[in-house]
């Protein structure tokens, strides 16, 4: 039996909504098949007021062993570092976070806000929001660079806006079944099993990427979304085209560009108008090239690939 506590800071509840739709395994499977005891969750917890405070304090004191502490949303520090803008159960949420992280065997940050700060931490960041152990790319965040939970691991980051429900439940199962130490993490503390490949890995538009055939509108059944519509699939680490959404599809399969929501810089471009769904260029060449490709190589490759493109690549071929 592993005790799990889930709290929400500066959040939209999107990751909770996502989590409740998990399928492999489902949120119910966590309880019935994998021995996870959900002590409290914002949408599932029964305790209110004094009873909730009592529960939180008993986790902090160790009376109730806290195996997994899940945090969704940013740590809000406004105004002036007090965190009073986000009060919960009688005090600033950030103070609960500090003490619960010290008490937990494992700390798991869910979604881009909890991992890297996400949209709330974008300039001018009025809520003084930060991620648990990162602020965008900068290591440290709320808990500091040296933080390690009782099991000796830093915060396990599962980013996404929201993250895919099965990324969450599969990591929770690994932790609850004593395999937490085997979760390899990358430089941004994301589980490698999910975040070593790119969104592009498994995208049905890869042939169009290769032959440089561009989609020019959302939802088109042919063409790659990189060249015109700002798809960040070639430089975003996520398994969105390996572990499909609703087990059916993905953004890029449906003709919607990847926004790069699993990367620390998300949302890119400071949300300026006209930047989100448009490939940003400098002298006609994309500003952000696929990971590992340089400008000269890109221009040469593109010219050659375009010239070699077969006629079918320009037809409507049902990639959705």
């Amino acid at each position: 039996m592993a005790n799990l506590l889930w709290l929400q800071g500066g959040a939209c509840s999107g990751n909770t909504m996502s989590f409740l739709n998990a399928e492999e395994p489902s949120a119910c499977d966590l309880v019935t098949d994998f021995g996870i005891n959900i002590l409290w969750h914002p949408s599932l917890g029964m305790e209110l007021g004094d009873n909730l405070q009592k529960l939180l304090k008993s986790c902090i004191s160790g009376e109730t062993p806290l195996d997994i502490f899940v945090f969704e949303g940013t740590v809000v520090q406004a105004p002036d570092g007090t965190g009073e803008w986000n009060r919960f159960a009688g005090r600033a949420m950030k103070d609960w976070v500090t003490e619960l992280c010290d008490a937990a065997q494992y700390v798991v940050a869910i979604g881009d806000c909890a991992t890297y700060g996400g949209i709330p931490a974008t300039a001018p960041n009025p809520s003084e929001s930060t991620g648990m152990q990162f602020l965008k790319r900068e290591h440290g965040g709320f808990l500091g660079t040296d933080f390690a939970s009782k099991a000796g691991l830093p915060v396990i980051n599962i980013p996404g806006c929201p993250c895919h429900p099965d990324w969450v439940t599969q990591i929770l199962v690994a932790v609850a079944s004593g395999r937490g130490g085997e979760i390899g993490l990358d430089e941004f503390q994301r589980p490698k099993t999910f975040f070593s490949s790119f969104t592009q890995t498994g995208c049905t538009r890869n042939m169009h990427f290769a032959y440089k055939v561009s989609a020019t509108e959302f939802g088109q059944r042919k063409g790659c979304l990189f060249y015109d519509l700002g798809c960040r699939g070639p430089m975003t680490h996520s398994p969105c085209n390996r572990i499909l959404w609703n087990r059916q599809s993905s953004k890029t399969r449906a003709g919607m560009p990847c926004l790069g929501c699993t990367e620390p810089e998300f949302p890119f471009f400071d949300l300026e108008p006209g930047t989100l769904f448009k490939t940003q260029t400098v002298m006609g060449v994309p500003k952000d090239l696929p990971t590992g490709v340089d400008k000269t190589g890109y221009v040469k490759l593109t010219g050659a690939a375009k010239a070699a493109a077969p006629a079918w690549a320009e037809e409507d071929i049902f990639v959705v």
């Binding site: 561009s214 509108e217 060249y227 006609g284 060449v285 221009v299 010219g303 493109a309 320009e314």
Partner: protein, 102 residues
């Protein structure tokens, strides 16, 4: 009118001295947006499209990179066609315009 006829018409217009805004090229995304916005407002007359986009019958080199339709992302190789929704015209591979992107 078929693609061949439109191509011929474009060629005759440009050879006949139609002035187009070849420079400044669209170096930044903001420059691109400005030109595309003008095209959207222009109401799609062929002459306005050619002028605003800065069409030429020869390839323009800019910043050390050649910018022919042939390598442009909006170009359909087999149909010899510019698929940029605001232009939407048949072209030749060696033609060029300032909305070129790779």
């Amino acid at each position: 009118m078929g693609d061949t006829n439109i191509r011929t018409e474009i060629q005759e217009l440009l050879e006949g001295g139609l002035e187009t805004e070849i420079y400044p090229r669209a170096d930044t995304s903001e420059d691109v947006n400005k030109i595309v916005n003008r095209l959207q407002k222009s109401g799609a007359s062929l002459i306005e499209k050619l002028a605003i986009a800065g069409f030429t019958l020869n390839t323009i080199e800019h910043g050390g990179i050649e910018q022919p339709c042939e390598t442009c992302m909006y170009y359909l190789v087999h149909r010899k066609y510019c698929e940029l929704p605001e232009l939407d015209v048949p072209v030749e591979p060696e033609w060029s315009c300032r909305l070129w992107r790779i």
